[in-house]
Symmetry: C2
Subunit: 334 residues, 2 copies
């Protein structure tokens, strides 16, 4: 069992009101680097150059889903490998680099000029990883649902995407995506036969990396679980340009309940959908925010919770979430 977390950034995160993956837009570039550290070590650590990252919380104080995934990892003991697909800030976590630059704004002519290269390097790594059970692929990239919407639109899939915000700013995302397609001279659906061109035009480097890793692992006959929400649906859509192998998408009930098109999209893309309700309650700040619709998914949370459910370890994971949260955000109390 291994979770590969693909971590990167996109300039889209800087669009006001588009993401909750950080207490403030200026902090969002730190979120993926901090998520990697929380997954690997259980807490942010200083990078060797001295860079430190605050624990990612939404503007309302909702903790990053890295907390949930780390908690499941502490209970289940699965391996975690972080892949750098465009980090903008150094991390103290060990990473395998796909030699990817941060993603540009999708309203630039090219959002990911090297999409093909990142995909190929991800594919090589995916082929090379040992087959030690299901390979879970997760993501951390603030602004990533907007680039996911861009790619899905360019590929001709009419799927709404999820949001880390309780009120999904879908109109704003559609506006950004429309401007992005326009800047890339693409009509909706026009990239259907060339998914990497969609990523190049209006995607992000994490999508290129996740898709490459998935295709490489499927090439090698490894069972792949896309661990996440609508961003992983977009990755699945890219994968389907290269492989028809069985593929699972494991996400949280928070995403499934707020994304009416999810089941249909998974059906269209032949993604075997697993939805896990973590059974959160309102009596702790870490879980209350999720019940209020913040956060929802990320850092492989849906896949990690599905594993926990499969191993009858959801109760233990919920208990562990409090420990991990307290370790990270000591003093803020429930």
């Amino acid at each position: 069992m291994r979770l590969v977390l693909v971590a990167g950034t996109t300039a889209v995160a800087a669009v006001e009101g588009i993401s909750a993956a950080g207490a403030h837009p200026a902090l969002m570039r730190h979120t993926p680097s901090a998520d990697a550290e929380i997954l690997v070590y259980g807490a942010p650590v200083a990078a060797p150059d001295g860079t430190t990252h605050p624990t990612p919380v939404s503007p309302e104080g909702c903790p990053t889903p890295a907390v949930m995934t780390r908690a499941a990892r502490e209970v289940l003991g699965f391996d975690a490998t972080v892949v750098d697909a465009g980090l903008a800030a150094p991390t103290g976590a060990p990473t395998v680099s796909l030699d990817a630059a941060p993603g540009r704004d999708v309203r630039d002519p090219e959002a990911v000029p090297d999409a093909h290269g990142i995909f190929e390097r991800g594919r090589r790594l995916g082929r090379a990883l040992p087959d030690d059970g299901p390979l879970l692929l997760g993501e951390t990239i603030p602004g990533g649902t907007t680039t996911a919407l861009g790619v899905l639109t360019a590929l001709g899939h009419e799927v709404g995407v999820s949001s880390s915000l309780p009120e999904n700013p879908l109109a704003l995302k559609r506006e950004v995506v429309a401007a992005g397609l326009d800047a890339s001279d693409l009509e909706p659906g026009e990239a259907a036969d060339d998914p990497l061109d969609a990523v190049r035009a209006v995607g992000d480097p994490v999508l290129a990396g996740v898709a490459g890793l998935a295709v490489g692992a499927l090439d090698a006959g490894v069972e792949v679980v896309l661990a996440g929400g609508t961003q992983l649906v977009a990755a699945g859509a890219v994968v389907r340009g290269f492989s028809d192998a069985p593929l699972e998408l494991a996400t949280t009930s928070f995403v499934a309940d707020s994304t009416p098109d999810l089941a249909a999209a998974c059906s269209t893309l032949a993604l075997d959908l697993t939805v896990t309700d973590p059974g959160f309650t309102d009596d702790h700040v870490a879980t209350r925010h999720y019940r209020a619709g913040v956060g929802k998914e990320g850092v492989g949370m849906g896949g990690a919770l599905a594993l926990a459910a499969e191993h009858a370890a959801l109760d233990d994971t919920r208990e562990r979430i409090r420990l991990v949260y307290d370790r990270l955000l000591d003093g803020e109390g429930p």
Copy 2:
């Protein structure tokens, strides 16, 4: 429990006859990258750029000690983190980079021009790592016993160093070190008050990184185990320029039995010496070579075996070594 493997290279490895850490001198630049992959994944994997590394074996076919450490890790389940302190070939293993270049030949005026910077970045990382039990520090750097001899000599310690070869080419090492000190305008013992200057002049980047990590972890009150042989003694000598905290050195009986000065050196440096006899037999190629004096130590082997002994898991580890070996070198048989 965490093993941090500090991996790097030095041009000294290219000196004919100085190291057995590779079947051929030209392959030695691959050894640390492959060792990292074996420790993390259980076998070499292709790096994202397509670089592949052969499993490191000595010219006679003795497998890298990464096999032993990986076996102990599979039995005990400790975390492993790889730190890049001057790798010369890309690795598929995730790494934290200390932003170190490969070490130069010690006979150049400066072997590690940025020794201070590498040490400081290692120190920051060592301070930042979570305190999850004893921190084991191991190394992989072909040619590293020669640079260790260089640093020990520059610091005024008259300690013989060990070898991955059954016949230790100590005269050759002393000759290289003497030329190195000469090129750096240093007399033996002259750098006693400035251990990082010894590393800069005649050391290697892994020594700078290990010493920095150890000092940082000791700063943070974490228990540190130097997991290795005479290279780790040299690291300990550097650490003693910065910290008087308790410090353990855990190595194999292969090093201890062939290094008469080891106990005295540990005593001088106040290193608490643990020697583990892995109880190898002659009935398998992986272990037979070690009994014949090849390999001896590396990739944290001494520390990993000490942990196994402490947890009454040496028998399981020996059994596991066969499995790991067969996975790596399938078909070569016992």
